[in-house]
């Protein structure tokens, strides 16, 4: 690599990444789906679809709907379960050098603990992302992430079960995100993923039925970027653990905004549905931006907002 070209290397807690761009949970499957478009080794890291203790069937259809500059989803965490994940999905991911972060979810605290125990020490798992913000579960999921006490309890419990780097994925559906962020940090989180989807809804005026069978779903995409940026910035000014910023990142410029606001890394989500090469385009773009602006490392950009 040319000596004067800026360094994209980043650390999130003890997770070392060759660049600060990862794929967001639930938007990149288990890595193999995009093989025709993306060499996984070029990513900073990948976060797999949310995993639960036992396989989940997911919600009935319709599960998604388009909204202005965004989309709603109510997938309901359809997933093969942690055992099948370790047995059938993880081996493929082991072929690559990038950190594999496993997003986990559950309805009860014990489920989170069980999944964590199974993943802890499993070869090929670089970190755990605790999803306390899934808006599509009727119990569990988001209900943890909107209560600072429950957040502290859950993070604490999971922390005890593993030495792996522990990321906590926060819900934006709260009055004060910094309170939840602090609770997670105090309970031993190594980093924060900000943000998950906002709870939204859409209606088919022809049938007068909800666009989603689940009625409400999680809003993602460019529409939520201003809210995500604001939360990253609020948290950056409150807690000291690293932030993985996400929410509507489609282009290089979007990603740069998140770094300036205080994110140490970013995750690309819905953009993968629109542009299968989005993460790579963004990585190239970040390098270009750093060069153009004479910034030698991504670290120098993080939290550099002039107010």
């Amino acid at each position: 690599m040319d000596k004067n070209s800026p360094s994209l290397e980043t650390h999130v807690a003890s997770i070392r990444m060759k660049n600060p761009v990862m794929t967001a949970s639930g938007t990149f499957g288990y890595g193999n789906e995009y093989a025709d478009f993306i060499d996984l080794n070029q990513l900073g890291a990948t976060v797999v679809k949310g995993i639960t203790n036992v396989p989940w069937p997911g919600n009935p259809m319709q599960r998604i709907a388009e909204t202005p500059s965004g989309m709603l989803n109510a997938i309901g965490l359809q997933n093969v379960g942690v055992d099948n994940f370790i047995e059938k999905k993880l081996p493929y991911l082991r072929n690559f050098e990038i950190p594999v972060i496993v997003n986990i979810c559950g309805e009860r605290l014990e489920e989170y603990e069980e999944v964590t125990e199974k993943l802890d020490g499993t070869h090929g798992v670089a970190a755990i992302e605790l999803n306390i913000s899934c808006p599509n579960l009727h119990c569990g999921g988001m209900s943890f992430g909107v209560d600072s006490k429950l957040t502290h309890q859950l993070v604490n419990a999971v922390r005890e079960k593993t030495a792996l780097p522990l990321l906590v994925k926060l819900s934006p559906n709260v009055t004060d995100i910094t309170v939840i962020a602090s609770a997670a940090a105090d309970a031993g989180a190594d980093g924060l993923s900000v943000i998950n989807t906002l709870l939204g809804m859409a209606i088919d005026i022809k049938t007068r039925r909800p666009m989603l069978e689940n009625v409400t779903g999680g809003l993602s995409g460019p529409a939520i970027k201003p809210i995500a940026l604001r939360m990253v910035w609020q948290i950056y000014n409150t807690v000291k653990i690293p932030i993985i910023g996400m929410g509507g990142i489609m282009t290089r410029d979007d990603a740069i905004e998140f770094f300036i606001a205080g994110a140490s890394a970013v995750a690309v989500g819905t953009a993968n549905f629109v542009n299968p090469r989005a993460p790579l385009d963004i990585i190239d773009g970040i390098r270009e931006y750093l060069e153009q602006n004479g910034i030698t490392s991504i670290g120098a950009l993080v939290g550099s907002l002039q107010t």
């Binding site: 938007t27 997911g58 009935p60």
Partner: protein, 274 residues
């Protein structure tokens, strides 16, 4: 034989100039563009995922079945449904389009098939044309049942007859052919196996949800193997968002949600839980 993991040709995301985008029937347009890599691998029943513009407030791509492949060109035949197809219909020759494909599985041809019965409701026929052409190339006798709201919307009958498909037209208003649903025509034909020489028939259908459900029922009654091309709302079309799923029977008597974009769009009729 499910889940339908077809050995997928490689996928490409191409930026291409529109060669033609013409109205071919009321509310229906035929769009042609150069997509060499997609044209090369495309199998009957597969689709492309089309991005209209990055500036648009319409975030998601739109899925359309590959209607025809000619050399390095493909065409799609689309119906005006909402804002996306509306914008698409306003694009003109030379405008850029992002076309991702070929995607999904494809129709399968059982041994000694005779005849193939393709049943298309509205734009549904678009998803069957490439398959009908392949069948004819293989010398398989093919009946084409085309249903439409009215004569003005009748599609592709010419194209079907051009490849010697014995077409049966039906319109809701009786302006052409049978006055009623295409499924009624299907029943009539299955009622007279001798007349129509149904030695070893199979049904291939695509169209509105209600029609597919009716076809499934009929095919169960007459015990004719049937493949349905499903059209669900899609996000990624890459198999990761799990937004496009269809309820599919599992051997254990239960069900699972399978991805129309990956295990589908073509499913065996009897596997679908309605």
């Amino acid at each position: 034989m499910q889940p339908y993991i077809s050995d997928q040709p490689k996928k490409f995301d191409l930026v291409t100039k529109i060669l033609a985008n013409e109205q071919v029937a009321q509310d229906h347009y035929l769009l042609r563009c150069v997509c060499p890599e997609i044209a090369e691998g495309a199998l009957p029943g597969q689709f492309v995922h089309v991005l209209i513009s990055f500036e648009s407030a319409m975030l998601l791509r739109r899925p359309f079945t590959i209607y025809s492949v000619e050399g390095d060109q493909i065409t799609i035949l689309y119906q005006l449904i909402g804002a996306g197809t509306e914008v698409l219909s306003h694009l003109s020759c030379g405008d850029l389009l992002h076309v991702m494909g070929p995607l999904g599985n494809s129709f399968r041809i059982p041994p000694n098939l005779d005849p193939a019965i393709v049943v298309g409701g509205g734009a549904g026929i678009a998803s069957l044309m490439l398959h009908a052409a392949a069948l004819r190339k293989l010398g398989v006798r093919t009946l084409g049942l085309v249903g439409s709201v009215n004569a003005a919307r009748l599609l592709t009958v010419v194209d079907l007859e051009g490849i010697d498909v014995e077409t049966h037209i039906s319109t809701d208003d009786g302006s052409v052919g049978h006055h009623g649903f295409v499924t009624e025509v299907l029943t009539q034909i299955l009622e007279q196996p001798q007349v129509h020489e149904l030695h070893n028939p199979a049904i291939y259908a695509c169209g509105p949800h209600g029609m597919l459900r009716a076809v499934a029922k009929i095919s169960r009654t007459y015990r004719v193997p049937t493949q349905l091309a499903m059209e669900n709302r899609m996000g990624c079309a890459m198999g990761v968002c799990l937004g496009c799923v269809c309820k599919i029977r599992t051997p254990d008597g239960g069900f699972e949600y399978q991805r129309v974009c990956t295990e589908g769009p073509v499913f065996d009729s009897e596997d679908i839980v309605w």
